[in-house]
Symmetry: C2
Subunit: 197 residues, 2 copies
Amino acid sequence: MDNSRLSRQISFILELDRLKTILRQSLIGDGSRQENDAEHSWHVSVMALLLAEYAPPQADAWRAAQMLLFHDVVEIDAGDTFIHDDVGNASKAQREQAAADRLYALLPDDQRDHFRALWEEFEARDSATARFANSLDRLQPILNNVATQGRMWQKNRVTAPKLMGLVGRIAQGCPALGDYAHQLVEEAVRKGYLPAE
Amino acid sequence: MDNSRLSRQISFILELDRLKTILRQSLIGDGSRQENDAEHSWHVSVMALLLAEYAPPQADAWRAAQMLLFHDVVEIDAGDTFIHDDVGNASKAQREQAAADRLYALLPDDQRDHFRALWEEFEARDSATARFANSLDRLQPILNNVATQGRMWQKNRVTAPKLMGLVGRIAQGCPALGDYAHQLVEEAVRKGYLPAE
């Protein structure tokens, strides 16, 4: 066993622990607190396995699950950028590239290249697998917002037209889940969880 | 799209959210609070991918990662049973079987059978993949305890001989990580994080 190789892998594993402290703009299902990136990453990865049958034929759901396990790692340095925060999103790509440079360099070179490429593929959405993974990443907060009566939507002044833009992205990566998300948003408006405009 | 099938899958996904509220007898890496089952499941799944090269030849690390994503689902009903709690462990199997009966029945029958079998395999440790997954499930709390100066070990009166029993289990599923865990425990004793007896 190459101890220095294992030490680098363990350093990365310990660094990843910090994802448990990065809070998102969604509540957990019982509404008691904000969700963190580690538990969100777990939730979307299990969704990839449970909803694999809806993935388009060219998408590999298990590879999407792997992608989703790592998709928020850069937020250890760059923080969570709320999807409806236009100012934060202007600098997001640059902050996240710097974070990826530092974080993935903790790994041995072959793994650095492999896991960074997996994240770059997710971000670029230039494969069916990456688009499917992105669909799940966008569907999960809608599920949790509906479960918590849209409290974080109201707090962050999210409206139905804004959310329908995201639903379009879900449909791009997974038409069946796009239809389902569309129904969820209409239901949320009907129930008063989400302002119609 | 079969809406009733998707509805069942989404019900299970929403129920899984409750794993975020089940607390374990380990702290997160910065020592600020107890870790929950969802973020623990995420951490051990990424470990399966990052440490795949140490898996014995018969073990499938990717399948171990899938197993680990779901390995604690039964704790939604059965709660977390601390590995050093002898009383709790006497009733653990029965409580967890009842939990599995209820929880996996939320899924469509084919998925109920598939995901329950994956969990049963993990619990029974009767495959190289299940033993590898169990090794990671036992290594991760040791890493987090060392990172937090053994505070939860001291609180729960865990000693080095008790922990060495677990290290033996890690070695059974993954000799290389067993060696590493052995070194970690010795280091923890040397640093005063863990009582020698």
